[in-house]
């Protein structure tokens, strides 16, 4: 019985001829699918509404990694659960620095590297802010990192992957032109606050000005005094926008919006719909600058 199950698993993988890929996040899974199409089978460990910093070290995830040819992780120390999962998976191919491991952050210039590292500053990331995929320009780098590993694992499909990557890059280029054209007249004029320090890459790319966060420090829940200070600051600076990722609660956000008259953008930061990553950024920009 045992032998047959193992045989079935091994055969099904070979017969399908698909490269089995596990990613940390849905955005990475989308990029993998864009390049690999039907030649890959991809699954994200995190769901779109989960915080990338917190995933349970569930043995079932180890089992998924056990069968993976490639594992894509966010890097920059964002995912403390990756190392114990990799150790438990006992799949040497996908260990860090090995052939099947993709550090998606390779080539990204990180923002927000703290000048000093202390928990006084909250849950800071010593290697910089890991939410770099909120700048779509970085998706080209991540897609390139995935491509380079794919062609090493499945070199027979190199041309196929290459054409798909070029096709993605073209779509990215035309979307980027559309978005930058749309935000150009508003550059430096739109002020916003967010719940968590998620948006430095996005706001740098599209010229938004962040004046504060609802969390006083990363990972620290807001006190009522901090909320009142933030409201005063928003009023003083005429800030009328709150961008909150869907992974964060809305109760305090609604209160601040009520007091300041600010608009709330409740944004997806990971692909939730079938139309994908570029559509997600599109929706975000249209939410911030509607009707043009």
């Amino acid at each position: 019985m045992f032998k047959y199950i193992i045989l079935l698993l091994v055969c099904s993988s070979f017969l399908c001829g698909q490269v089995s890929i596990i990613t940390s996040t849905p955005n990475q899974a989308f990029l993998v699918k864009e390049i690999g199409k039907d030649k890959v089978k991809v699954e994200s460990l995190l769901k779109p509404r989960e915080d990338m910093h917190f995933l349970d070290v569930n043995p079932v995830f180890m089992n998924k990694l056990y069968f993976a040819d490639i594992f894509v992780e966010t890097g920059l120390g964002a995912e403390p659960w990756v190392l114990p999962l990799l150790q438990g998976a006992k799949n040497r191919k996908i260990l860090r620095q090995n052939i099947g491991n993709v550090n998606a952050a390779r080539g990204i210039a990180p923002l927000g590297i703290p000048s000093s590292i202390s928990r006084d500053l909250g849950d800071v990331h010593p290697q910089g802010n890991p939410h770099y995929l909120l700048d779509p320009v970085n998706s080209k780098i991540v897609a390139g990192n995935i491509y380079k590993t794919l062609i090493r694992i499945a070199p027979q499909h190199t041309n196929f992957f290459k054409q798909n990557l070029i096709s993605y890059n073209k779509k990215l280029r035309s979307s980027l032109i559309k978005w930058l054209k749309k935000v150009k007249p508003h550059k430096g004029k739109i002020k916003f606050v967010s719940y968590h320090e998620l948006w430095p890459y996005f706001s740098r790319r599209f010229g938004l000005v962040q004046i504060g966060t609802i969390e006083p420090k990363p990972g620290i829940q807001p006190s009522s005094r901090h909320i009142q200070n933030l409201i005063a600051q928003m009023k003083a600076q005429n800030c009328r926008l709150i961008i909150v990722a869907k992974i964060y609660p809305l109760n305090q956000v609604r209160y601040i919006a009520e007091k300041t008259g600010a608009k709330i953008i409740h944004a997806s930061i990971e692909v939730e719909k079938k139309d994908g990553y570029l559509a997600m950024i599109d929706e975000l920009i249209n939410g911030i600058i509607p009707g043009e």
Binding site: R49, L55, K90, G219
Partner: protein
């Protein structure tokens, strides 16, 4: 005739005047249209200029989108704790974390009784303050093939003495094929599901049945283990291990000369003469996800090893574990876990002439079942019921073998990922205390400094 000529002249003048006005109007219309066209042209040119600017900007940002072979120039460091020692280079050292647990509380049981009620060496065991432990944990890559882990624990015991323990120090391979992993060093025996580290518990104290079978510090000794992940559609792991059987952390086995584990049978010195004088463990753990939000775990663990009541006496311990976790795949921090473990020990005790007892096999068993409810990212509440009992042998049962019930409730608040405040109430009923119920309340503070650990499942 003169009048006719005059009239003709006036008429022709009026007609000519009308033509001029008409022409003027047409001219004005044409000028307006030209101005409009000019304006549109200018707008188009401006838009084209912006478009060209943005296209140039995008091309600068993206580079040659068809040259997919270009290599990124910057390589971020490994996510481990590291020091930047130059442009783009970091020095990888050891991931270090320091974890402290401090509790304060009181009980209706007196302090001598508390030592028996709270059997864990890291439990709060006295009225007033207890520094349950200060743990220093480190891990690092030794080389690409092997990783090292160590844990030192310091505590101030019930006598006020500072105790330093090398809790764990081992290496684990990471490059073996076929889902195999080899571990060697000083480590906790991987029996059951409950982690041996107090900072990962939902309560301030360890389960009664664990204290009875594995002692206050848990079962840990130098040894080696081999684990294997079976290539099945669910997680299925088999672990076999062999460890030394003597010392204060092997209470159900050789333990220490002069001690007693079961009543009326003193432990004698027993040398390690063959492989049968080691502790062997076999465990099989299976974890399934029947749905995206539900995880189930079923496991069985088996231990066999020598005990110190005679030259050829053996202890066998069986463990069955069941664990279920319901957790929606969002960031609201809601979850419910249900964790139950049954343990059974068969302790073969040799005849003891000092206590006038014959040889006998003494059986002990017990269980704990606990539910933890995560209310949000900052709060959880938990409840636990425990039962433990041992057979009556030739001698009377002592405090660690007679019948015992414990009911616990706790609430924990996490102001941040690195700090916790827990309030716990225990209701104890123990045979050695007669018919009375004992009530205890503990407040515990937990703090973590250093590397952020992963969340246990």
């Amino acid at each position: 005739m003169k009048y006719i000529v005059l009239i003709a002249f006036v008429v022709s003048f009026v007609v000519a005047q009308e033509n001029v006005e008409q022409q003027m109007k047409e001219m004005l219309k044409r000028i307006e249209k030209l101005e409009q066209d000019n304006k549109e042209l200018k707008t188009q040119v401006r838009h084209q200029e912006i478009k060209d600017d943005i296209e140039d900007e995008v091309d600068d940002l993206l580079g040659d989108i068809e040259n997919v072979e270009s290599t990124p120039t910057r390589q971020p460091g490994d996510p481990l704790f590291s020091f930047q020692i130059g442009q783009g280079t970091s020095l990888q050292l050891v991931d270090l974390s320091f974890i402290g647990l401090l509790s304060v509380g009181s009980s209706t049981a007196d302090e001598d009784e508390l030592l028996f009620l709270q059997g864990g060496a890291h439990d709060p065991r006295r009225r007033g303050f207890t520094l349950q432990q200060f743990e220093i944990h480190g891990e690092a890559a030794i080389d690409p093939y092997v990783r090292a882990f160590f844990t030192y624990v310091m505590l101030i015991d019930e006598e006020g003495e500072t105790v330093l323990e090398l809790e764990e120090a081992y290496f684990v391979t990471q490059m073996l094929p076929y889902g195999l992993q080899f571990k060697a060093g000083q480590f906790f025996t991987e029996f059951g599901k409950l982690t041996p580290h107090p900072h990962d518990w939902a309560f301030v104290d360890q389960p009664v049945i664990y204290s009875r079978f594995f002692g206050g510090d848990g079962l840990r000794n130098p040894g080696a283990s081999l684990s294997w992940n079976a290539p099945l559609p669910w997680y299925s792991e088999v672990i076999v291990s062999a460890q030394n059987a003597f010392g204060e952390t092997a209470t159900s086995f050789l333990f220490e000369e002069g001690e007693q584990v079961v009543d009326g049978h003193d432990l004698v010195e027993r040398d390690v003469e063959s492989l049968k004088d080691l502790i062997y463990m076999l465990s099989w753990k299976n974890v399934f996800m029947p749905s995206e939000i539900l995880t189930l775990e079923l496991g069985y663990s088996f231990l066999i090893g020598p005990n110190g009541t005679g030259d050829d006496t053996t202890t066998i311990i069986h463990g069955l574990q069941f664990y279920a976790k319901w957790k929606p795949r969002d960031n609201k921090g809601r979850y419910v876990t249900w964790h139950t473990e049954f343990l059974l020990r068969n302790y073969e005790a040799d005849a003891d002439p000092n206590n006038a007892n014959d040889n006998e096999v003494l059986n002990d068993w017990g269980f704990f079942t606990q539910v933890i409810v995560g209310l949000n990212r900052f709060w959880n509440v938990a409840g636990r019921y425990e039962y433990a009992v041992g057979d009556k042998g030739e001698a009377d049962r002592t405090e660690f073998r007679d019948e015992r019930h414990r009911l616990s409730a706790s609430a924990t608040y996490y102001p941040s990922e690195f700090f916790s405040i827990r309030l716990q109430y225990n209701l104890d009923k123990a045979q050695f205390l007669g018919d009375s119920f004992e009530h205890s309340v503990w407040l515990q503070f937990g703090f973590l400094v250093g590397t952020h650990g992963a969340h246990k499942y």
